[in-house]
């Protein structure tokens, strides 16, 4: 992370979103919206005084899934890169009611800007790497049998990571969200939303088998006299050193139970999990203090809209579509746009890193050239036929057509005169052919797919 921030060739634009992409391979024009941070990061030294003094201290911290608290002016998390705070406008008293402004008073470098507004920046780039990642499947709206999120001690795997983390709300001690007590029995349920056509997604999320094995191992090694129960459909450990890692969790004492949990309900301060042990062919009941769900990966919010904006397709689940599942796994159907990580489909960290390096190689290959050969199959205008009506101009999705003055020699008693005709910018034209049906005088033609050629094909079929 720090390496990326410090690299002289890398520029970070955080708290920013891409709002428009135009152009084509080698020559993209991208508009980026920089959201207001209300802090001038050029001046801010990241000293942290503002965060200490901010009186709005009890905002549930999104980074810890509400298990911790933060101030209105804050870092996403203490080790954020860049290590400079921004103001959460929705919770800041000054921005919502006009009162307070303490951070502005205590800031030693006068970097607070309550009048900050969004800034739109135009970028010119030759290649784009999509790395928008994933979100967690919203199990709370789908799984009534696990309590629809009603039980505080039924949490997701990512929430459990925060409980394990030294930088998390509990300082790395596993504590129940409900009463802060250390759990003894922790139950894990795999495939929550994955491999479930009726309530979730049909695909396997690929990382859950392994991180659940890791979680079970951590429970067994961090909590004395603990039990870790893992309810599973299958154990999938296809990866280098993965099976060995799963065995390590088993050797540590994790208990694997083959069955789907049909219901979770509270009994006292415990949670009861009803399931079947399909290997024994009998129903079982497990009493747990904490339940961790391995919830599925789904495409990040806004990913589908972004794909549309950049100009490539997504699959039935919203994952970015690769150009070929085996031979072009990092390319998209949009030339010059490449895929890295889970935006293309669920995967774990080793696969993500490998694909990211693959995408980087594709970009380097492209950028190593000084110029790019363009397809000659582009539109052309027969100026003798063009009436200059301009109907083709707004139809072109690449803004490749414009109306230009054309000078006629004259004759038949007329002197020379000028008139308007359509002109194609052949480096912008992508040869899609959308302009052809708009041309009433058949002045437009697509090289390699001329009207004459298409008519010949139809004739060959029908005559």
């Amino acid at each position: 992370m720090v390496a990326a921030a410090q690299h002289p060739n890398i520029e970070l634009m955080t708290y920013s979103e891409v709002t428009d992409v135009k152009g084509f391979i080698g020559n993209f024009k991208v508009t980026v919206k920089q959201k207001p941070k209300y802090v001038d990061w050029e001046l801010c030294t990241g000293c942290g005084t503002c965060m200490e003094k901010c009186p709005t201290k009890k905002i549930p911290d999104e980074f810890d899934f509400g298990m911790g608290q933060r101030t209105a002016i804050h870092l996403v998390y203490p080790q954020a890169v860049p290590g400079k705070p921004y103001i959460d406008a929705a919770h800041c008293t000054k921005l919502t009611s006009g009162k307070c402004g303490i951070c502005e008073k205590v800031c030693p470098t006068d970097s607070i800007r309550f009048n900050d507004i969004p800034v739109f920046k135009e970028l010119e780039v030759g290649a784009i790497v999509m790395a928008t990642g994933y979100d967690q499947f919203d199990w709370k709206s789908a799984y009534g049998e696990y309590g629809y999120g009603k039980y505080p001690d039924v949490i997701s795997g990512l929430e459990f990571e925060r409980l394990l983390s030294a930088g998390g709300p509990t300082g790395g001690q596993i504590k129940r969200p409900s009463d802060g007590r250390e759990p003894k029995n922790v139950a894990f349920i795999k495939c929550v939303g994955s491999r479930d056509d009726t309530k979730g997604k049909s695909y396997c999320s690929r990382a859950c088998c392994m991180y659940t094995a890791k979680h079970a191992y951590q429970v067994k090694t961090k909590i004395e006299d603990s039990e870790a129960y893992v309810f599973y459909m299958d154990v999938r450990t296809a990866g280098k050193s993965y099976e060995e890692f799963y065995q390590r969790a088993l050797n540590a004492g994790a208990k694997y139970i083959r069955g789907r949990v049909s219901k979770i309900y509270p009994r006292g301060d415990k949670l009861i999990l009803k399931s079947e042990e399909t290997l024994l062919g009998m129903p079982i009941e497990v009493e747990a203090d904490l339940v961790v769900l391995a919830s599925a990966m789904v495409p990040a919010a806004g990913a589908v809209e972004l794909a549309k904006m950049v100009g490539f397709s997504v699959d039935k689940d919203g994952w970015f579509q690769e150009a070929h599942p085996k031979l072009q796994p990092v390319e998209t159907f949009a030339a010059g746009v490449y895929l890295a990580g889970t935006c293309q489909g669920p995967k774990d960290i080793p696969d993500t890193v490998a694909q990211a390096s693959g995408a980087a190689v594709k970009v380097l290959g492209l950028l190593s050239k000084t110029e790019l050969a363009t397809e000659p199959m582009v539109s052309e205008v027969d100026v003798t036929k063009c009436s200059g009506c301009g109907l083709c101009v707004p139809i072109c999705p690449y803004s490749a057509i414009s109306l230009q003055e054309y000078r006629e020699r004259g004759g038949h008693g007329h002197g020379p005169f000028t008139r308007q005709v359509a002109e194609i910018n052949s480096s912008l034209c992508q040869g899609c052919g959308a302009c052809l049906p708009a041309c009433r005088t058949l002045a437009l033609n697509l090289k390699g797919f001329t009207n004459d050629q298409l008519a010949a094909e139809v004739d060959a079929l029908c005559l």
Partner: protein, 194 residues
Amino acid sequence: MKKRVGVFVCECGTNIAATVDTVQVAEFAKTLPGVVYSTNYKYMCSDPGQDLIRKAIEEQKLEQVVVASCSPRMHEHTFRKAAAAGGLNPYMMEMVNIREQDSWVHHDKDQATTKAKSLVRMAVAKALRNKPLQVSTVPITKKALVIGGGIAGMQAALDIAEGGHQVIIVEREASIGGKMTQLDKTFPTMDCAA
């Protein structure tokens, strides 16, 4: 418009040949106007297949080439190169998709073969009107954009930056790092994620 057309029908192993009678299609092609040479082969995209196209262009003095095989997305570039190797303008190669749009989507061999013939007939009619096209070039902006600053975005950006090019990472949160920063230790090595 009297041009010498060669037709090359690919079997794609059994991908095409199991559903389309490629011998019949190649024989049929010989009856089409302009076609002076026609043949079928097991893998037209292979080295011997491309060689077959190149040699036929030279020996039969072909002016147009029609390859009936897979989607142009798969091998258009391959066959354009083969046409160029035979001395033709690469855009004098016309491709017919008798795999994705025929053999893979039909079961009845007779009807699939009839469809393949129709597709070849159309392509020959088009090929007769193909004109040589010239490739032009555009400059490249030597800068990359990475959308998303998680582990995938950071890794891609670092590799591109190490390769000597400018990279911009656009991240919607106020910090890079993504989901990975929320993780504790990671499998299978149990090293720290942050």
